[in-house]
């Protein structure tokens, strides 16, 4: 894709304009996309991968994949949805690589959740959830995405997304209650 320098990109482009300019290889448009989502993407990746460095790598990889594939982006979902979907795939890839290399997640030697302040206990309990429960919880409760957005990212019905969130919270409540006893 040819590189383009800042062209006629409005100060506050619509998502469609941003997607168009990204498709044309306008790096300024990519930078705007990055500025809009990077903070939340880093946090989400951090919660999935457990280290800031790994999270930054995942975000970088996601943006490079977005740049490579954006010409084929047909706008069937929103650009942001698509970018988050790519990020999640990058995170899963990183986790798989880690498994292959028999690495463990960055060491976090927590005591049992019950003896901890709630924030730390919750972090610990989150690690005990299954993948779908954890990702929905992280996106909804931690990062503040809407059910409709999460459903689009995960390509599941909105009702399923709500149900997974409920399962996640029930499971967390159970873990935190049991370990507190």
């Amino acid at each position: 894709m040819p590189l383009r320098f800042p062209g006629a990109l409005p100060e506050h482009p619509t998502e469609a304009q941003l997607a168009d300019e990204c498709r044309r290889g306008n790096l300024r448009a990519f930078e705007m996309l990055y500025q809009q989502h990077a903070s939340r993407m880093k946090s989400l990746a951090f919660r999935m991968l457990g280290s800031r460095a790994d999270a930054e790598d995942a975000v970088q990889e996601a943006f490079l994949k977005v740049h490579k594939a954006v010409r084929g982006f047909e706008g069937q979902s929103s650009l942001a949805t698509w970018v988050y979907r790519i990020l999640l795939n990058c995170c899963y890839d990183a986790l798989r690589r880690r498994e292959r290399l028999a690495e463990t997640a960055p060491a976090r030697d927590f005591p049992a959740p019950g003896k901890l302040p709630l924030k730390l206990a919750l972090e610990r309990a989150l690690a005990m959830l299954n993948d779908r429960q954890r990702i929905v919880f992280l996106m909804f409760e931690v990062e503040g995405l809407k059910h409709s957005e999460i459903a689009a990212i995960l390509e599941v019905p909105e009702g399923t997304c709500r149900s997974w969130l409920f399962e996640a919270k029930s499971q967390l409540k159970r873990i935190l209650t049991e370990t507190a006893r």
Partner: protein, 213 residues
């Protein structure tokens, strides 16, 4: 329905049951603790959002993108390749012609006399040189207009155009030097004209963009 402790989970899933659940919570300390924990999970979750500065991350992404994309160099950057190609072509065309001229009476050895358009006649050359001078003058005018913007590039776009113009100028100088050595060569004259056209377009685009901004 009589609300019991085991119904709390169902009530959390079904908002319609919440009024009854609230009534139950007033008297049941254990359910109250569970319900509070339910609410605390959500409120505490917000604090799990992790924010940290990564000023270098976009730069890393950008430079990886730029390094991964090597656009085909524009014609003004391919000048040495073109020059070599032109020289080879010229040699291929000129060798039989020179050989023919060496074996032809002098009166027939005028450039272009054999219908060979790769060599210019004196008259055509004078015309070309006159046009070139006029073209150069008009481009010089454009250059003067753009000079102030190029001296202090205000954006990456202008800096890029400045670099491009420097490369074009250097290619023009080189081609003109070659033209001086071989004034009748059509290919060199065409290359020179292409370079002037490239410079003119670059300057016009720069000025029109800067006017819009």
């Amino acid at each position: 329905m009589k609300f019991e402790c085991g119904d709390l989970e169902q009530a959390l899933r079904t908002p319609e049951l919440m009024p009854e659940a609230r009534e139950h919570l007033r008297f049941c300390a254990e359910c109250r603790r569970e319900y509070q924990l339910w609410l605390q999970i959500s409120s505490t979750a917000r604090s799990l959002h992790e924010e940290w500065e990564t000023p270098e991350l976009w730069g890393r992404i950008r430079s990886t993108i730029e390094a991964g994309i090597q656009p085909a160099p524009p014609v003004w950057k391919r000048w040495p390749v073109l020059a070599i190609a032109a020289a080879i072509l010229l040699a291929l065309i000129a060798t039989p012609l020179l050989w023919q001229r060496a074996h032809t009476p002098a009166s027939h050895a005028q450039p272009g006399a054999n219908g060979d358009d790769d060599f210019l006649t004196e008259q055509a050359l004078a015309e070309v040189e006159k046009n070139e001078a006029a073209y150069r003058q008009s481009i010089d005018k454009l250059s003067r207009l753009a000079e102030a913007k190029l001296k202090k590039p205000a954006s990456p776009y202008v800096a890029n155009e400045q670099e491009k113009l420097l490369a074009i100028d250097s290619a023009i100088d080189e081609t003109r030097a070659n033209v001086k050595l071989n004034r009748f060569n059509v290919h060199l004259q065409t290359t020179l004209a292409d370079l002037y056209r490239e410079k003119q377009q670059t300057l016009e685009e720069l000025l029109s963009r800067e006017q819009k901004n």
